[in-house]
């Protein structure tokens, strides 16, 4: 089964609270300085909506957002354009893009002290026709998700929780069983 429009969300622990509006100037800066090698268009703020998409950097092929959907804050990468290759390659591409964005944000002086948790990732398919969230699809695709996270989080292992609500999009949350650095994962995702 071909899984397109892969989204990856990297958890952002916020014990002291994080103001999503603080990301607005940073994302504008990314457009100004053409920080990413892709067409970035604009920044949309929905910080006024509870548990919503937060602040979204709109791109042509993909969007990046500081998202708190489901009450879980994180950086979400939404790949909009179809991609060739295998599902595994598409998982890799989205994870790489999401983690690269996290690293850039962590390095930004305007966001001092920001630390993403690379050991907690959500991956879901933003397309209900390609991957309706049914027991059959979950059964068919779980091995591919496991294979990907196995590879990504080797050798420490992970726990996987599939999204079971049929109204939500097909996907899962993976938690590494030990500490993981963004740098480490990016190194692995390089190839």
């Amino acid at each position: 089964m071909e899984l397109q429009h892969v989204n990856v969300k990297v958890s952002l622990p916020s014990p002291g609270g994080i103001d999503p509006e603080g990301f607005i100037p940073v994302f504008h800066g990314w457009i100004q300085d053409q920080v990413l090698e892709e067409l970035l268009i604009d920044v949309a703020s929905y910080a006024h909506v509870i548990n919503g998409p937060g602040v979204v950097l709109i791109g042509h092929r993909a969007d990046y957002s500081i998202d708190s959907t489901g009450g879980r804050l994180g950086l979400r990468y939404n790949h909009k354009a179809p991609l060739s290759g295998s599902n595994f390659e598409r998982f890799k591409q989205s994870a790489r893009a999401a983690l690269q964005a996290c690293r850039l944000l962590e390095e930004n002086p305007q966001l001092k002290g920001l630390r993403f948790n690379a050991g907690e990732l959500e991956l879901f398919v933003n397309d209900r026709a390609l991957a309706p969230n049914t027991p059959e699809i979950r059964a068919a695709c779980e091995p591919e998700l496991r294979e990907f996270f196995q590879w990504l989080y080797q050798p420490i292992g992970f726990a996987l929780e599939l999204e079971k609500d049929p109204r939500q999009r097909f996907g899962a949350r993976a938690k590494a069983v030990g500490a993981v650095e963004i740098k480490q994962l990016l190194e692995r995702l390089k190839g």
Binding site: G52, V56, H60
Partner: protein, 751 residues
């Protein structure tokens, strides 16, 4: 853009209402034809607008990043309208007649927001939904998925009849004369795609209200407005409408004029049709700034306009739909799910108590209430829509309405259920108090997404909202009930003219810097169906508006007379007093001292007006005949596709049909009510265009007309492959000749 577009088409085949499915297939073909350069860009722009597919800021490929203008290098080279790049994201507007929705429709809207937009559904000031950042190639599937739950986007934008709005409390309001919902729905259905509404110079917005005194229908600011009234004759009460025409906001607001003080229900549809015909015939077409019906009414005067409408009404051929809907008025009546009850005494948190005070409105039906779900800036997430759908199913008989204040109204809630309802709403982040009062600020999209935006209306609304939310319940009650409305420019989509405190975006150049400002408009009347418009004062830098709001509200609390409304207060104290109160706020510090004044709320880029583009509110004025010829061309294209698939008979027939429809396009230009009868069309064409030699090509004379006559003469005889091929080729030539004929007809005569 989406990999699953073909899959959805296949999956929903045969599952959509036939008419909607056909319309969407046609639009999809038009998208394809435009990509191939086979439809002219202006025609395609108006075509997509009439499907609710709207342009968005920066779609000309230029964006100022705060330092310089960057060119946005989209991959595709095509355009979807003048100066509008194919791949640039756009907005999809979704029509919600009378704001009426069910749970499944909420869920689907949420799914579309997640999969094609940015996870947000935006509720507009005309009860519509909007999705932003949608790719043009995904729009046919968005439309199909909406059609699968009975929603159309047809005529949501463009020079057409827009969403028919109505009070969200219709049917349950304590003060209404009668429930206007079935009438609003009937008008919406009747005018949708109506041939008499296809050649307006601008948009046409109808609204209904159940009473005169409240604001819910805003009839006074609409192109066509109907207020429910009754009259007594021979001891029996008869229903009717006060019918208004020619209201509108925009840069110069016009109050609607009374066309008929008592229009019986059976005359509602034909009268609206007659008005549409007069507007289509006499309304301005070239100068879009004077093309709304309000200008026609003003220029002619209401009495002359009325005479013309009545004359038109008399001449119109009858239509059974005019009265058919009256037999099923009861079908729209909503019923409760749960038994009536009383509010459980003294239960719940302080937030719940405040919510009860501001968001709950008792119904006319004892034991029931309407609960308003306040949406910040009209925005709601997909998860919230799903939660709301669950609430709709749990507490009502599957109905909810969107409101012109960018909220939702849950009706028929048993009073006994209110604590439970609030818990469910609050769990979804939808239990905020303050609906329809000071914090519930209405704002248009402004510079966030609108091409015409001058200042950030949503940015300012967000700022005011968060400042006022913390203190609104300590404020004087008179202030709590004020309305703030903000537009990003003078076009007034945020309805600032009707607010106690209204603002619209303007810019000023100060010390060689552009500075975002808002023009202050005070004392508009929201009640009495938008009874009167506010007084325009002067412009204040955006960053000083919150302070201006504080000062104005404080002065009102301090100095108002007992029971004095804000509008009367402003009138009494006058412009001079307002000026002296706010005068120091009109200035601003030098850039070097405080550069924050030189960027807008919610947007840290240094402010510029260079991103303002040409608006699509009006679209291009494309004459009906050009649309009809475009449709005939599409049929000729479809005929070719059928031939390629080996469907010879269908292909030949479609080629012939394309010719007849091109002939009809020309005939209709002279004879509005030409029926869909091929024999009649061909005869009318022969008499009006062939025999008069109007159709004759300057070089080959009447040759092309004979293609039509020959094809018509076949009288259903089967086609060979060669005959079908010829018919399609002849159809293409005939359509070309029809374009030529029309161009000659409209070309300026040599002096």
């Amino acid at each position: 853009m989406k990999a699953s577009n073909a899959l959805w088409k296949e999956r929903l085949a045969g599952k959509l209402p036939e008419e909607l499915a056909r319309e969407i297939d046609i639009f999809e073909t038009e998208v394809e034809l435009r990509q191939q350069g086979k439809i002219e860009e202006k025609l395609f722009a108006e075509t997509r607008l009439r499907r609710g597919v709207y342009g968005q800021r920066y779609d000309n490929g230029q964006r100022h990043d705060g330092k310089k203008t960057q060119s946005l290098k989209y991959p595709g080279g095509s355009t979807k309208g003048p100066n509008t790049l194919w791949d640039a994201p756009g907005m999809q507007r979704i029509k919600i007649p009378a704001g009426g929705l069910n749970a499944r429709q909420l869920e689907v809207a949420g799914e579309l927001a997640e999969e094609y937009s940015d996870c947000i559904v935006h509720v507009t000031t005309r009860q519509d939904f909007q999705l932003h950042f949608v790719h043009i190639e995904d729009t046919p599937v968005v439309m199909r998925r909406l059609a699968s739950v009975g929603i159309t986007t047809r005529e949501a934008c463009g020079n057409s009849v827009r969403n028919v709005t109505s009070c969200p409390y219709a049917g349950v309001c304590q003060d209404e004369t009668f429930d206007v919902t079935p009438y609003a729905r009937a008008l919406s259905k009747f005018l949708l795609g109506h041939p008499d509404c296809q050649s307006f110079g601008r948009k046409f917005k109808p609204a209904f209200s159940g009473c005169k005194q409240h604001a819910c229908g805003l009839v006074n600011m609409h192109d066509l407005g109907a207020i429910a009234v009754t009259s007594r004759e021979n001891g029996t009460e008869a229903r009717g409408f006060e019918l208004y025409v020619g209201g509108g906001l925009g840069p110069i607001p016009h109050e609607a004029k009374l066309l008929d003080p008592f229009l019986p229900p059976e005359e509602l549809l034909p009268m609206a049709q007659a008005i549409a015909r007069v507007f289509a015939r006499l309304g301005e077409k070239k100068n879009r700034n004077r093309a709304r019906i309000k200008f026609l009414v003003k220029d002619l005067g209401i009495d002359k306009f009325r005479d013309l409408v009545l004359e038109e009404r008399k001449a119109m051929p009858g239509d059974p739909r005019w009265t058919a809907f009256l037999e099923e008025l009861d079908r729209h009546e909503e019923k409760p799910l749960r038994p009536p009850g009383q509010i459980p005494p003294a239960a719940g948190s302080e937030k719940y108590q405040r919510w009860l005070k501001t968001n709950i409105r008792p119904q006319r039906q004892e034991g029931y209430a309407v609960a308003t779900v306040a949406l910040p800036l009209g925005d709601i997430t997909a998860n919230q829509l799903r939660a709301l759908a669950d609430i709709v199913r749990r507490f009502t008989r599957d109905t909810i309405r969107s409101t012109v204040e960018q909220n939702f109204a849950l009706r028929w809630i048993s009073m006994a259920d209110l604590p439970e309802l609030h818990r469910a709403l609050d769990a979804a982040g939808l239990g905020e108090p303050g609906a329809c009062n000071l914090v519930d600020i209405v704002a248009c999209p402004g510079t966030d997404t609108c091409k015409l935006g001058i200042s950030s209306s949503r940015g300012l609304a967000g700022e005011l909202r968060s400042r006022l939310a913390t203190k609104s319940f300590q404020l004087d009650e008179a202030v709590q009930n004020l309305h703030i409305k903000i537009s990003g420019c003078f076009n007034s989509c945020g309805q600032h003219h009707l607010a106690d405190l209204g603002f619209y975006g303007v810019s000023r150049t100060i010390n060689n810097y552009k500075v975002p400002h808002f023009q202050v408009v005070l004392g508009g009347e929201w009640e009495n169906n938008a009874g009167s418009y506010g007084m325009s004062m002067f412009a204040i830098p955006s960053k000083n508006i919150p302070e201006a709001v504080d000062r104005l509200t404080e002065k009102y609390v301090r100095e108002r007379q007992p029971q004095e409304k804000f509008k009367d207060f402003i009138k009494r104290i006058g412009r001079a007093a307002v000026k002296s109160l706010l005068d120091d706020l009109t200035g601003l510090p030098a850039y070097q001292t405080n550069p924050s004044y030189y960027s807008d709320w919610g947007d840290p880029r240094e402010y510029t007006t260079s991103d303002i583009g040409a608006g699509e509110c009006a679209g291009e004025v494309v004459p009906q005949v050009v649309f009809d010829l475009g449709a005939a061309e599409r049929e000729a294209f479809e005929a070719q596709v059928l031939l390629e698939k080996g469907e010879v008979q269908k292909a030949g027939q479609m080629g012939y049909q394309a010719m007849v429809h091109a002939a009809k396009a020309l005939v209709r230009n002279e004879f509005q009510d030409i029926p869909e009868d091929f024999e009649r069309i061909v005869n009318e064409f022969r008499a009006r265009f062939h025999d008069t030699q109007k159709f004759n090509d300057p070089f080959v004379g009447g040759k092309f007309a004979h293609y039509l006559f020959a094809a018509h003469k076949r009288d259903g005889a089967p086609f060979t492959l060669e005959q079908a091929q010829h018919t399609i080729e002849e159809a293409q030539l005939f359509i070309e000749a029809s374009h030529g004929c029309y161009n000659r007809m409209v070309a300026p005569k040599a002096p």
